[in-house]
Point group: C2
Chain length 264, copies 2
DNA sequence: ATCCATTTGTGCGTATGTATG
DNA sequence: CCATACATACGCACAAATGGA
């Protein structure tokens, strides 16, 4: 009932969480673990597999390879700051400055598609399932490592009214402001966040290591009359943190200076 | 280079995501997969292990056991609705009504501890690392299945001023309101969300299946003068969704009725 | 209450392939 | 070209959980 593999995993996990094995450090090789614990190679691999699936360890093949304690760098995404309905601001601009403020180099690629809506999106866009809509996909990278996929869906009739939505390029002033200029002022939005393990597509697009969950984050944007946009953002879970600041933000900044500050 | 196991996994995954194998349905048994694909048992187990780690499949031992497509029920947590600084309301009351509205039965257990602060919490509470603080832990369950752990930390000096914080029982009016009554009016808060694989402690407390990430969600609450609370909530990722509604919520409800509505 | 059949869980030994320095 | 270290796969054995006869 004990589980040899479980025990070895637990021991290694302790060494990692206690800081005895720091991020970047190498675990003993498989052969060493075999000798140390007097078990078979399969058992050792099973033990380490647990740690890999917990996102604690990464395996590297090749001569100077080994099993390495994963290091994590976290990027903060201010969900309530970007595209605040009152303080309109370019979306990508906001993103770029935010990333640069954190000392990294942002980049992104655009793509435009016409797609048939699946249920979840159709529902929120208030369209029928299977209807065509405009999809603007933006893969965002930090230091040339992809960190998030942002898929924005717009109803077809809106895109026909605001033709710029159909251009396969970044919109300088940001879509929120563009839509506002054309009489579609965004007054509110709803964000839904969930965590899940990535699909193979996510793994490919975000170059995810095993044991990395993703944050799926769905924003539905409203004007006074209608739903104008649904954005599905998929973040690499180990590289991102989503932050909301709510309440009397002005007073907060006034009284507490630049807090809420950057936390490790 | 191809990977037999990968192929089998991909084939099964397709059957699941395409709906050919619905949630609750059983995959072929290991023996059947062995026969179908002419591979060894280890290979089959390796293939299914991928699906388990993706949270798609659950294994059940015993004579009518098997490998089952996981069903997921999602509970929505309205992060921006609860304890809104303007519309003060009891926290647990809010939680209970919210869960009941979704047709489930809520319950919770309380626990009070004095703890030494670790860096991450100390930092946000504006206390020194290692200083003692009050921890109020609340494990929340839905239909007697635990779904979230909520750890609220209060600075010691505040607890000495507001003694009820030291009682190991639910506070009827909710701590936010209690603190407001005693002159500590919460004016804003910051939420930080991230996804990660669970620690063994999380697995035990939340009875998590393999391949289930957790949402870690950290709320720092401010009065005009100081930080009064840091709450760390850990959600089972497969059973929860965190929702924020921002902007002109009043107008939203007025114009769009009860939208944002419940989505599957 | 016992025993049996089914199905997954754990572990061993071995062989060969692949990536990297 | 070789040595190192992980990747993948085969075959075997026995244990543990569960449900039915």
């Amino acid at each position: 009932m004990s589980g040899l593999a479980r025990g070895i995993a637990a021991q290694l996990r302790d060494q990692i969480t206690s800081g005895q094995l720091r991020p970047g450090a190498k675990l003993p090789t498989e052969d060493q673990l075999i000798a140390q614990h007097g078990v078979s190679r399969n058992t050792v691999r099973g033990a380490v597999a647990h740690l890999v699936n917990e996102g604690l360890v990464r395996r590297v093949v090749g001569r100077d390879g080994g099993m390495v304690v994963r290091e994590r760098v976290t990027l903060t995404y201010h969900a309530s700051r970007a595209e605040q309905p009152d303080g309109l601001r370019s979306e990508s601009d906001g993103y770029f400055t935010e990333v640069r403020d954190q000392g990294f180099e942002p980049s992104q690629t655009f793509e435009l598609r016409l797609v048939m809506l699946e249920t979840a999106i159709a529902d929120r866009l208030e369209q029928e399932e299977g209807v065509t809509a405009v999809l603007r996909r933006c893969v965002r990278s930090v230091n040339h490592e992809p960190t998030s996929i942002q898929d924005s869906y717009y109803p077809m009739d809106l895109a026909e009214q605001v033709r710029e939505l159909m251009s396969p390029a970044d919109i300088p002033q940001g879509t929120t402001r563009l839509l506002a200029e054309r009489g579609h002022l965004q007054i509110a939005f709803t964000d839904e966040l969930e965590a899940r393990m990535p699909t193979p597509e996510d793994v490919a697009l975000l170059r995810l290591g095993q044991g990395t969950p993703v944050i799926r984050y769905l924003r539905t944007a409203f004007t006074r009359e209608r739903v104008v946009r649904v954005t599905v953002t998929t973040f690499a879970g180990d590289r991102n943190r989503v932050v909301y600041t709510l309440g009397d933000v002005a007073a907060l900044e006034r009284e507490h200076g630049r807090r809420p500050k950057q936390h490790p």
